[in-house]
């Protein structure tokens, strides 16, 4: 089992950080290293509209590279505007995953639309930054990865990686909408697509990770990190019903692979779970691993999937 030392909550919607578009939540952290700071992209929400519905924006916070618990700067505006009328990302840009590509930075994000019979649908968009990740421009006003025969809805949670010369996009795809107490709840699984250029993608069309807690387990945040000669995936999973509480809510799982396609799940190795008290006592989710100056960190969310923000943990030992 891996050993993680929790540093506690690092960043959230405290009053000093709030903006019009950043009133609640700091979800789905994704880190990018700079010389003096670590820029952590996150997703957040302004106040809900009159019907109580939220939109999501994505932005960033810079943490001091020599002390990641210290916030240096928060973005003045979201990295992307919401999509236009009828476009796939009209109601939310969440979550986002970023990667350097020579002189540019690419972002892959979930774009949210609203539906009649189910509350929402999601497809994956892409955008590019030419100002060191401060702001981004969409590659188009449609998605770069969307619904297909075996992935009928909810393509979300992208995690972009490049190993050798191949691009890998880990993401989730919806399996079914399950009616629970009269309301549709989404069930989704971890999937993979590959690309030579980051733009044209070939879907692998298989679930990467078998279910553990139930047949309709939902899995999210497939975060892949290479260390000690193999690929490590930390992700989160939950039950299909009543997952907004502690008992059936998100926990962090783990799988490893030698080739990025075949994965062996072994949650007993994850080494991180809910705390007894405090901000991550009910659920723990959306893991993201990154290394800074020889130290491996995990950023993650706690109760209510990031309502209070994200925290950090430090790996003690190696990912073996």
């Amino acid at each position: 089992m891996f050993s993680w030392k929790k540093l506690g909550i690092i960043f959230g919607p405290e009053s000093s950080h709030r903006r019009d578009w950043f009133n609640e939540f700091a979800q789905a952290p994704s880190a990018l290293l700079f010389d003096d700071y670590v820029r952590v992209y996150f997703s957040c929400r302004p106040q809900p509209d009159k019907e109580g519905k939220y939109v999501s924006y994505s932005a960033w916070v810079d943490l001091d590279r020599s002390d990641l618990t210290r916030v240096v700067k928060v973005a003045e505006k979201p990295i992307l505007p919401l999509g236009g009328l009828g476009e796939f990302d009209e109601f939310g840009i969440y979550p986002v995953s970023v990667i350097r590509d020579e002189s540019t930075i690419l972002a892959y994000y979930g774009g949210w639309t609203r539906c009649e019979s189910v509350p929402f649908n999601v497809a994956i968009g892409s955008a590019v930054s030419r100002d060191e990740g401060c702001s981004f421009q969409k590659l188009g006003n449609g998605p770069i990865l969307s619904y297909s025969t075996d992935e009928p809805f909810i393509l979300s949670g992208p995690k972009i990686r490049k190993f050798e010369d191949t691009w890998y996009l880990f993401y989730i795809a919806g399996k079914k909408w399950k009616i629970v107490d009269g309301h549709p709840e989404p069930v989704y699984r971890i999937r993979l697509a590959t690309s030579d250029d980051g733009i044209t993608w070939a879907k692998y069309n298989r679930d990467l990770i078998p279910c553990k807690v139930e047949e309709d387990e939902a899995q999210a945040s497939p975060d892949v990190f290479f260390a000690e000669g193999k690929y490590h995936m930390f992700f989160c999973y939950r039950y299909s019903k009543y997952y907004r509480g502690s008992e059936y809510g998100y926990r962090i799982g783990y799988a490893s692979s030698l080739n990025l396609f075949d994965w062996v799940r072994d949650d007993s190795k994850a080494g991180i779970t809910v705390s007894e008290f405090g901000w991550d006592s009910e659920m723990i989710s959306y893991p993201h691993l990154f290394a800074v100056d020889g130290v491996i960190y995990m950023a993650y969310l706690g109760n209510d999937v990031g309502r209070q923000g994200f925290g950090l943990a430090i790996l003690e030992g190696k990912l073996e």
Binding site: G83, G84, L85, G86, E87, F88, E90, F91, T113, R114, C115, E116, S117, V118, N121, A123, S126, L139, G140, N141, G142, P143, I144, S146, Y147, S148, T149, D150, E151, P152, F153, I154, G174, K176, W177, I179, P184, P186, I199
Partner: protein, 319 residues
């Protein structure tokens, strides 16, 4: 070339349609048998929200398209599951024989909240000569993409020299033409190719038919046939708003031709399908379907109110 109009050949009010559907027989599309012609079309029923659900049924007609032999007693394909692209309707469905099977290229509809609808193109297969179809998966084979942001639909497929060609429409966006108006959609005709009919390569956002009514012209339902050395496309086009209520802004039939399937020359006047002075196609003509049968070239199409009163027939005279 000239169209000889044979008038309305199917009026839904004259028949018992499946699911209690009454009005509408939209977007007729054929599957030709030796002794009869099966014509698929979309019906409409109103659901508990007061909105339409479209289902695909068929009518079998004799070789002269003058006699009705049979009307199907059920829809040939179920609607999609909760949250799927074809949950709220299939309209239209294009039919293609592929070896021993019959493929149906569906245009699936699902409702949105800020705009009325989104569409995608799915594939369903029949192994009983088109009486029933099973979708190959819950999702679409063609949908919105980077430069085609919405409303991919209306696929029409032909197998030419071992390549599947699909002409379809893609949305360029939604627009509100006045502050109080509901959003209106704009779409154009595009082209995709495939080796197997399932995995498609779109010529991403390339509009293949030039506009006649300006940049916001809406183009729909392409249908292609080879005549002599040329390919001819029939489609319908309209103004982007007030097209339901204002005669003259609604759908009419357009035409283009090509030598190479790449470049299309638009010529709506040769042949030109005239609106009738009175009757079922006096206000609108839409959803054309062109096909060849016993050396004749026919056009099926809908008339007023998007096919509320069924479809009619025209025959091409080569002059």
């Amino acid at each position: 070339m000239e169209w000889i109009k044979h008038g309305q050949i199917f009026n839904p009010l004259d028949h018992q349609l499946p699911n209690g559907a009454k009005y509408y027989a939209q977007s007729p599309q054929t599957l030709v048998f030796k002794d009869f012609i099966r014509i698929y079309f979309s019906t409409r029923v109103v659901d508990d929200k007061g909105k339409y659900l479209s289902n695909i049924v068929f009518v079998d007609m004799d070789n002269n398209l003058s006699k009705i032999l049979r009307v199907s007693d059920k829809a040939v394909i179920t609607l999609g599951d909760l949250g799927c692209f074809d949950e709220h309707g299939i309209f239209p469905m294009n039919i293609l024989r592929v070896k021993d099977s019959v493929y149906g290229f569906t245009c699936g509809w699902s409702r949105r909240s800020s705009v009325s609808v989104e569409t995608g193109i799915g594939v369903a297969v029949s192994h009983d000569d088109g009486l029933s179809f099973q979708r190959i998966g819950a999702g679409p084979v063609l949908t919105a993409s980077l430069k085609e942001p919405c409303l991919v639909g209306d696929g029409f497929v032909k197998l030419i020299d071992n390549t599947f060609h699909m002409w379809y429409i893609f949305g360029t966006g939604w627009k509100r033409y006045s502050p109080q108006a509901d959003p209106d959609r704009i779409y154009k005709i595009g082209h995709a190719t495939s080796e197997d009919g399932l995995i498609w390569i779109k010529s991403e956002s390339r509009q293949i038919i030039p506009d006649r009514l300006g940049p916001d012209e809406c183009q729909a339902l392409p249908s292609v046939i080879e005549i002599g050395a040329k390919y001819h496309m029939f489609f319908c086009y309209r103004e982007p708003y007030n097209f339901r209520t204002e005669v003259g802004r609604g759908y009419r039939i357009g035409h283009a031709w090509s030598n190479d399937l790449e470049h299309w020359i638009r010529n709506d006047d040769d042949p030109h399908l005239e609106r009738s002075d009175h009757g079922w196609d006096s206000e609108m003509q839409c959803y054309p379907h062109v096909f060849r049968h016993q050396s004749k070239i026919y056009l099926l199409y809908n008339g007023n109110e998007f096919g509320r009163y069924g479809f009619g027939l025209a025959e091409l005279q080569l002059i």
